[in-house]
């Protein structure tokens, strides 16, 4: 049998950080006393009507534009009908055949669509496992009911659990940088469901998919998909077939349980919401949404890679807009030093120095100014100080700020320029480490470290490592 390939698509619900709910004027909240942010509209009293939150539309447009989606000139709200206490109208106002955002792309993954809808209320099942079956009573908190949501649906373009989790992180970063959502998975402002199937590698047919729910961290998302892929692979390799169903992931046990089978799937009886007119964003709204777009991680990563940065370094920098801003200021101040070298200092040496000093926040919040870091890197490049001394100076900059030159002077870290002096120190170190010299002669090159170390101790790190190595080899 051909190897089985994973085929994964994601459905992401993003709670928008608007002031008020999707269709009424109630304030959004998290963690408040239950049922204080409600009104006749979000409690579905007889006779009420929804009114679309304009800010939510603007945020949805920003998400759509950030994902390169086509924006529908007229999109339609539909009613998705189902009975459950978390849905006071017994229908959710969502979008169906004409969503506000059509096809797009983020990174390597195609976006199928993104649409606006409202969140359900929160049900709490008391007494029992926390799920409705076997509980003594169910309570409903309508504070969350009606929170604006954007649901993003991808094409099934992901081929592995880790890849899916990594892409979801990129999406979260993208939405976070738009400033339209808190994107907090634990609090539920970002919720990721996965559609998972397997098929023979190279096939262009899609296998039967299952839908995974309740993965409230990227780690659980990856673990849930891994568990489901393993289950499907074992099933198919054993000659079985995958049944279409919705599965609930239990992070504690790592197990998947069936929520409902295909037969139990709801018939939502979608039809156009007669209480709302088609949503037609004006030219001005589109322009404003475009202008409000910051440079997004995917674009920034591509730009950094073009500057010669390694992918992982580019990703690290691009993930945080403040760090990437800091990096770009260093590049500007350094004027001519390769960005690749500067990026390594920002994500490597500086990040390590900040960790070491237990400084809160990133590079942008530190006392090391971009010009100071640029000057320091230039001194190392020009061999005015050694790489090791550079780290010492950086540690000083982290704790006291200022410019690197006075620190170099104060600490006497200027690279030894007198090669006679260095030669003497090397000779001394070799004579004091005769056994190491012997080992090198026997072919154990690692032993050179002991001699270099001794030289560095003697010179307090001011010696150029390369020059020390050259001298040792020469004298051997």
């Amino acid at each position: 049998m051909a190897e089985l390939e994973a085929v994964i698509g994601l459905e992401i619900h993003v709670q928008l950080a608007t002031k008020t709910k999707m269709f009424c004027g109630c304030e959004l909240s998290f963690g408040d006393e239950p049922n204080v942010h409600t009104c006749p509209v979000c409690l579905a009293h007889p006779g009420v009507l929804p009114v679309v939150n304009e800010q939510a539309v603007r945020y949805a447009l920003q998400i759509g534009l950030a994902l390169g989606c086509e924006i529908a000139p007229h999109s339609i709200f539909h009613r998705k009908n189902y009975f459950y206490p978390d849905s006071p109208k017994a229908y959710q106002i969502s979008q169906y055949d004409i969503p506000i955002c059509g096809p797009g792309r983020l990174g390597e993954v195609r976006i199928h669509r993104a649409h606006l809808e409202e969140d359900a209320a929160k049900t709490i099942h008391v007494g029992g496992s926390g799920r409705i079956h076997g509980s003594a009573a169910s309570l409903v908190d309508f504070n969350r009911g009606g929170t604006p949501l954007v649901e993003i649906v991808t094409e099934p373009d992901l081929r592995g659990a880790a890849e899916a989790a990594e892409w979801a992180r990129l999406l979260r970063e993208t939405v976070r940088q738009l400033g339209v959502s808190d994107v907090n998975m634990e609090e539920g402002s970002l919720r990721v469901d996965a559609n998972v199937s397997v098929r023979p590698a190279g096939s262009d047919q899609l296998g039967t998919k299952t839908e995974l729910k309740n993965m409230n961290s990227f780690r659980f998302l990856q673990r849930g998909i891994e568990a489901e892929l393993a289950r499907q692979r074992e099933l198919v390799e054993g000659g079985g077939t995958v049944e279409q169903e919705t599965l609930h992931f239990d992070p504690a046990s790592g197990s998947l349980t069936s929520l409902r089978s295909k037969e139990e799937a709801h018939d939502y009886r979608y039809f156009p919401e007669p209480d709302l007119v088609p949503m037609a964003p004006t030219e001005e709204m589109l322009r404003e949404a475009r202008e409000a777009l910051p440079e997004l991680p995917a674009a920034r990563i591509a730009r950094y890679e073009e500057m010669g940065l390694a992918s992982d370094v580019a990703l690290t920098l691009a993930a945080d807009p403040r760090t990437s801003g800091y990096f770009e200021n260093v590049v500007e101040a350094a004027d001519g030093i390769e960005p690749r070298v500067l990026a390594n200092w920002v994500t490597g040496e500086l990040a390590a120095a900040l960790r070491q000093a237990e400084v809160e926040g990133g590079a942008a919040d530190s006392r090391v100014t971009p010009p100071a870091l640029a000057t320091l890197v230039r001194m190392v490049q020009d061999k005015k100080i050694s790489h090791g001394s550079g780290k010492t100076v950086l540690a000083a900059l982290v704790s006291e700020g200022g410019d690197p030159e006075p620190i170099v002077e104060r600490e006497g870290l200027a690279q030894m320029s007198d090669s006679n002096e260095l030669e003497a120190i090397v000779e001394k170190a070799m004579s004091e480490n005769a056994d190491a010299v012997e080992k090198i002669r026997e072919g154990n090159n690692k032993a050179i470290g002991a001699i270099v170390g001794a030289v560095m101790r003697e010179t307090k790190g001011r010696a150029d490592g390369g020059e020390v190595n050259r001298l040792i080899q020469e004298k051997l």
Binding site: H45, G47, V48, P85, Y91, R269, P274
Partner: protein, 481 residues
């Protein structure tokens, strides 16, 4: 006292403004009249108690009004004629009622209606049928039967109702008063308990066309709480047209058949002659899709209703039954006991029409018919100013006469449904009296005039001229019957 009640709402308003009529005295007279309701027309009346406080007016200067029990009124029972909302007191007031209160019109009471506005006879009310003031053995029409009966029966100077497929116009015709269904979107639906959201529209039931104009002027306008409301540009002024010269009235060939009551037809033909006497021109128009109106309507309206009525689940307000069992049992028991048979029938029809696999065949098809009907009207209005028909195929029928035959009941809406589907305004004015098929005392017959969307002013002007020309002045119990 009798003199006060004889004033039209407009006359009373003008007298109050001029200082010739004391508002409190006038309102008190109407409250007393309303208290004499023997028609089961009121479900709640303002008797000065605590309940009515949230909807009290600061200063009355407009005639007190009866409100169909489908409009929410803060603190005041609002049932929509259903058992499932028994005892429900809304936490907010509908826009229509708020506008009346702000204009200075005290609320006399809430009027009986077919449950959730589903019906053409008022026999579907959970609180018993309303009796027709012309003949208490007959229905007042529906679903705004209570609102029509209070105006015709001298229990209120005027009233508001709602019209989804004829629910203002048909009871107005059956009770011999004026009923106007405005353009969809002219008046806010906020706080108007939904039956079929894309069709429901609030409108006046009045003694005269002028009163209807006055009331429409108060009610119309865009409401930020209703995205589908737009109002009538330029507002509404009182009609004063004296003749119909230069106006063309189209009679739809498809709606001129002979399969309705001969008495109704006679009044209709006589009214066409009256139009010509007033200088108007009669032309034939074609509305080829309108004969499918009833079929399309009875798919679309139940489909929307099945969704709109799903919120009545016993969880948050209203009636709850079977709460000792599990969730599903509570839903089922509450809805089984709370809804009447017609409401259940339409929920079943609508749920089926929206089901996966049937949607296109029913709902999709019905929407196409609806579009065609609207196009038919657009085509007709290219050649005529108005389209005219009888309002209903018969005069008021007997209580219980059609309750076992839903289809025959539905056919009552034959003339009124096409305008609802097209979203255009239509008015029914009393045009004469006719003997019911099978004999009996004479009963009122309505004449329906429809106009293009938002042409309410033109419609009211023409209806006013015709009303003056007809001079209908018969009243229940004054010897005509």
């Amino acid at each position: 006292m009798t003199d006060l009640l004889a004033l039209t709402a407009l006359e009373a308003h003008e007298a109050m403004v001029a200082g010739d009529l004391a508002a409190d005295e006038y309102t008190a007279a109407w409250k007393e009249a309303a208290a004499g309701d023997e028609l089961n027309a009121y479900l709640w009346r303002d008797e000065g108690g605590e309940e009515g406080r949230a909807i009290a007016v600061e200063r009355d200067c407009i005639a007190p009004i009866a409100v169909k029990d489908i409009f929410t009124t803060e603190g005041v029972p609002t049932t929509a004629g259903s058992r499932i909302l028994e005892g429900y007191r809304p936490p907010y007031t509908s826009t229509a009622v708020r506008k009346l209160l702000e204009a200075g019109a005290p609320i006399l009471g809430k009027t009986n209606m077919d449950e959730f506005a589903m019906g053409s006879s008022n026999e579907n009310s959970a609180y018993g049928p309303v009796l027709n003031p012309w003949d208490r053995g007959r229905v007042p029409g529906g679903s705004s039967g209570g609102s029509a009966a209070v105006v015709a029966g001298g229990l209120a100077p005027w009233a508001i109702g709602t019209d989804t497929g004829g629910s203002i116009r048909q009871p107005a015709a059956f009770c011999g008063i004026v009923g106007l269904k405005p353009t969809y979107g002219a008046i806010s639906r906020y706080g108007m308990i939904a039956f079929a959201s894309s069709l429901d529209q609030c409108g006046p039931l009045t003694r005269t066309v002028s009163d209807a104009a006055l009331l429409l002027g108060i009610l119309q306008g865009h409401d930020p709480c209703d995205s589908t409301s737009v109002g009538i540009e330029g507002g509404v002024s009182l009609p004063d047209r004296e003749d119909l010269s230069g106006l063309r009235f189209g009679v739809p060939a498809e709606l001129r058949g002979d399969d309705y009551d001969s008495g109704v037809r006679a009044v209709f033909e006589q009214t066409l002659k009256r139009i010509e006497d007033l200088g108007g021109e009669i032309a034939e128009v074609s509305l080829p899709s309108s004969e499918h109106g009833i079929s399309a309507y009875y798919v679309i309206a139940p489909a929307e209703a099945s969704s709109n009525l799903a919120r009545y689940d016993g969880v948050r307000y209203g009636m709850r039954a079977g709460g000792d069992g599990d969730l599903l049992q509570m839903y089922e028991t509450t809805r089984s006991e709370g809804f009447g048979p017609e409401v259940k029938r339409r929920i079943m029809l609508g749920t089926y029409a929206l089901s996966s696999g049937y949607y296109e065949a029913y709902y999709g098809q019905a929407q196409k018919v609806r579009t065609r009907i609207a196009e038919d009207f657009t085509g007709a209005f290219a050649g005529v100013d108005f389209v005219v028909t009888p309002t209903a195929p018969s005069v008021a029928f007997g209580l219980g006469e059609k309750t076992d035959d839903p289809l025959s009941m539905y056919l009552n809406d034959f003339f009124t449904v096409p305008m609802s589907l097209a979203g255009i305004p239509a008015i029914s004015i009393p045009a004469g009296l006719a003997e019911p098929e099978g004999g009996g005392p004479q009963l009122p017959v309505g004449f329906q005039i429809a106009a293009p969307a938002f042409a309410e002013q033109k419609l009211l002007d023409a209806a006013y001229a015709l009303e003056q020309g007809i001079g209908f002045d018969a009243k229940p119990g004054d010897g005509n019957g």
